[in-house]
Every structure is written in C-alpha cells, then in structure tokens.
C-alpha cells in the first residue's frame, strides 16, 4: 500500500511540520517514506506545501503527481491541487478557512473546521495537527498512537512546552473522524 500525501496552504500554518510528523511516524513503523518540501521565497507568506510518501515498498520518485491524500489549508491550494488528486482519493479541507466545496465526485472530501476547533481549544496555530489526526484516523496510513510518539520525537526543544497541546490537537482530529 502506498499513501501519497500533499499538504498545502500558507507559509506559517505548519504544513512542513505536520508532514514531518507523518514522515517520522512512518519511520517509527519501519515503513519506506520520503518527505519533500517546496522551498524558496514562497515559504515566507506565499503558498507552501510538502509531499509525503508512506509505502510498504521502496519509494521511487518523491515527487507526487497524483496524491491520494490532499490536505488544504487555503483556497489557492485547493484550486491548485484539486484536479491532481487520484480517483478514489480523499481531500481534507480546513472548512474554517475555505468556503467552497470540492467540485469532483470521484474523490471523497472531509470538511473539518480545524482552525475554529484549534481556536476553541486555545491552540490557534495547531489546526495542522488537528487535520493530521483526521488524516491518520481516516486513512490508516500510520497508526494513531504512532503519531503521538512521532510528535514527541520531532518537536523542537524550543517548543517542547507545546507538546501536550499538540497531542491534544491530534487527538481532536482523530475524534472528529471516529466520533
């Protein structure tokens, strides 16, 4: 099984980090993986994305042409990537930031008001982790509990005080899917 995930939005929304946590979870589970960021000036305030491949087989190209998982946190990213999603794929939309709906009927859409949920739990900048929780719960690309372990190992010393809040955000995303 191969999960090809693109996470896209504005610079500063933590998309590279949520991708890193997913990649690290795959590492912990002994899976094959790659993580590829967009880089350059676009990272500073423009659109930004990363591609994460998690697979049972060695990863060929780290570049994803047709993701089967798309996470979008702004409308330009939905516009840019919607058509590229593979048939049968799932698009995770932060519905507190993106008003429009997914136009295609050959892919599934999960609308999650992640930014609002994050605000409500006083974790404003952690909408990315809420959606990551939802992705993992919905697709099973890695196990939910592995994500928590990955977070513990990935979070920088500077932000270590935010670990619990991050864990709670992931949990909220999982709960959103599993109820």
């Amino acid at each position: 099984m191969t999960f090809e995930t693109i996470m896209a939005g504005f610079g500063g929304q933590g998309l590279l980090f949520s991708g890193k946590v997913l990649a690290h979870a795959a590492l912990i589970e002994g899976k094959e993986l790659s993580w590829l960021p967009s880089y350059g000036p676009e990272m500073r305030g423009g659109t930004c994305n990363c591609s994460v491949i998690v697979s049972d087989d060695p990863v060929g190209s780290p570049i994803i042409a047709h993701p089967n998982i798309l996470m979008v946190m702004n409308e330009p990213s939905l516009d840019k990537f919607e058509d590229t999603v593979a048939t049968g794929g799932i698009i995770f939309v932060d519905s507190s930031l993106i008003e429009r709906k997914v136009g295609r009927d050959d892919v599934a859409a999960v609308y999650i008001p992640a930014t609002k949920m994050a605000k409500d739990m006083e974790a404003t900048s952690l909408a990315n982790m809420i959606i990551l929780g939802a992705i993992v719960a919905k697709t099973g690309c890695v196990k939910c509990e592995t994500v928590s372990n990955a977070l513990r190992e990935t979070i920088s010393a500077r932000k270590a005080n935010l670990l619990d809040l991050n864990l709670k955000a992931v949990e909220a995303g999982i709960k959103f899917i599993k109820g």
Binding site: K20, A23, H24, L27, E32, L33, S34, W35, L36, P37, Y39, G40, V59, G60, S61, P62, I63, A65
Partner: protein
C-alpha cells in the same frame, strides 16, 4: 548497526562529513544548500571543529585550500552560482594535488537563474570546473542515504587519488528527507594529517620543507605534472567507476538518468513494464569518471537510449561518446527548475519502444 534517522539530504551530508573526521567547514549561504552551513554552525563548535562563514565563495574555497594543505579533511558547499566563484580555487586544488570535498546542490542557471532543482552544471563539473587541463571526482547521489555514503566515498577517493572530489546533487536531493543510516563515527580527525607526508604541517626541523604549489615555470616540468596527473585519472577510471543497473537484463530501451530524475524514471519504468515494454535504466553514480563499460555492453542489446535530465542534454553527449554513437540517444528533459513528470518520461519510453 546504527538505526535509521530521518534527515534532509543536506543535513545528511553535513553529519556524515563530521563522522568521517571532517572538522573544517568553510562556506557562504546560498539556496538550496544552506542547511549544510546551518548544520555545521551548530555542530562544529561543540566538537572542537571549525565552522567559518567566509566573506565570499572565493575566500571559502581558499580556506579549504589552506586546511587541505595542512592535511585536514576539509569541505565547502554551495549551489551553482557560488560554484562558479569557486572555480578558480578548485583549479588550484587540482593543480596542487590537494584532496577536498566540494558539494554542489545545483539550481537553475545561467546567471542568477532560479533556486529550483537543476542538473545544468553537468558539463561544468565533469569537464574540470576551472582553468587548465584537469578533472575532479564527481559523484551523483540519488537518495539521502547516498548523500551520506558518498560523502565518505568522496573523502576517501579524494585522498587516495590526491584530487578534489565533488558531490553533485540537485536541489530536490538536498531538500528532501528520507530515512538514513549514518556512517559509523570511527575516524579520528587528529590522525589524518599524519597519513599525508606532503602536507604543510611544519617541518618540526625533522624534514626538508614541504611546498604546496601549482606553479611550474618550466614547460617540461609542467607537462610532466600534467601527464602524471592524467595517469592517476586513468587509474581512477579503471578502478573506481560506479553505476546502478535497473531492469537491464532484457531491456530494449535504456533510460539514463541521475539524481532526482533517476527517481522519476524508476516510476516510469515500472509503469512501462506493466505495459509490456522492455525498458531498464543505467544510473551513473560517478559522473567523472563516466562509467563507459555498462554502456558499451548495453549498446549491444538495446535499440535506443533516453537521457532524462534537468538540462539541455549534457549527459546525453557522454552517452553518445560511451556508445560510440552506435545507437540513437533520445532526450527527455526539463530545465529552469522544472522536473519531467513520470507521465512525460513514460511517453518518451513508449515513443522509443515503438
């Protein structure tokens, strides 16, 4: 055995270099390789090493020249425009027969170009980047694991053949993260200069003075040094060529690619095989010396070659030379920071298979 860690290609180079006994890094910031400098600036002060942000790429390569002359494992890293500035220093390193590691994480050019991935320095690096008749060892990693492994290989080959060695990567390889097993930390940096009797480490009044130099005003002498050096290059070509063959056993079409495009090509080959097309790949790992052997062999069996490159067909020429133009060599390329998609490579394979 050490365990796998998740690292960017650039960081893997830096950590691998440290584990290989490199304690002297001199560099200047430029995208997309700056992570190497940033990593070194964090680690070196804690292990008694030197990280120095030089005033220019020119100064950085000359600091490497000084450290290499002193017998140290020294390195610098940059991206295409910065490597142009280093060319003078690389020529002097080659002329003085000094081993050193230079990393080039390529971006689009010419001029200021762009910052997205490229392989457009292929000619510049493989033909000897600088004035004069010389070569440097050029290695082309295609995974983060190879970024680490080839860092060690570059130091070792450079010292064995007394010449500068380069890791020639593209922006994607530098930026991407993959699991990597880092080399064991077994080299004592202090033990390295003693293995280099030619190094300028002070005479200690026990030997005649050593001179590190590339000036020979007598043409007879300069010719002699050039011929001796090319003798070493010939040995390098005989003994150190490296490449990977992928699904070549029954291949009728042969893709040739390095770095990120070799990864894209693998996906395309898997897809083409599903359609019944007999296609394989030769991935050169040493770009200088270029591995001619597998191409001579492949030319007997395949109908045509396709180079998949991020330039206007630079490696394409080496494939033509290696096969004596006995088979057509097509091209599937994008430039300026664009990367051919799996579909584009697949279309090219289909066309050649017809």
């Amino acid at each position: 055995m050490s365990s796998k860690v998740l690292m960017k290609g650039n960081e893997a180079i830096a950590e691998a270099a440290i584990r290989c006994g490199c304690r002297h890094y001199f560099g200047y910031p430029i995208t997309p390789q700056t992570e190497i400098a940033a990593y070194m600036s964090k680690r070196m002060p804690k292990i008694g090493g030197t990280f120095l942000q030089a005033e220019s790429e020119i100064a950085a390569i000359n600091m490497v020249y000084g450290a290499a002359a002193s017998g140290r494992r020294a390195m610098t890293s940059s991206s295409s425009p910065g490597v142009s500035l280093k060319a003078e220093g690389i020529s002097y390193l080659a002329g003085a027969d000094l081993p050193a590691l230079i990393v080039n994480v390529q971006r689009g050019g010419p001029g200021l170009g762009g910052i997205q991935p490229s392989q457009s320095d292929y000619f510049f690096m493989t033909r000897g980047p600088g004035h004069g008749d010389f070569h440097i060892i050029v290695l082309a990693p295609a995974t983060v694991q190879e970024m680490a492994d080839m860092t060690r290989l570059a130091f070792e080959l450079g010292e064995k053949y007394r010449m500068p060695a380069m890791l020639l990567a593209d922006g994607t390889m530098g930026q991407m993260m993959e699991p990597v097993v880092l080399p064991e930390d077994t080299v004592d940096p202090e033990s390295i200069p003693a293995t280099k009797p030619w190094a300028t480490t002070g005479t200690d009044m026990k030997r005649p003075h050593n001179i590190v130099n590339s000036l020979y005003l007598k043409p007879e002498e300069l010719e002699k040094t050039n011929l001796e050096r090319f003798g070493r290059y010939a040995k390098l070509e005989r003994e150190e060529c490296r490449w990977e063959e992928y699904m070549m056993d029954d291949a009728e079409v042969c893709v040739v690619s390095v770095g990120i495009t070799a990864r894209v090509s693998k996906n395309a080959i898997v897809a083409a095989r599903k359609e019944g097309i007999k296609v394989g790949m030769i991935r050169p790992i040493t770009l200088y010396p270029f591995p001619k052997k597998p191409f001579a062999k492949a030319a007997e069996n395949v109908r045509s070659f396709i180079t998949v490159e991020l330039n206007m067909g630079q490696m394409n020429e080496d494939v033509r030379l290696a096969t004596n133009c006995s088979r057509p060599v097509a091209m599937c390329n994008r430039v300026g920071g664009m990367i051919p998609s799996v579909d584009e490579v697949l279309a090219s394979i289909r066309k050649e298979a017809k």
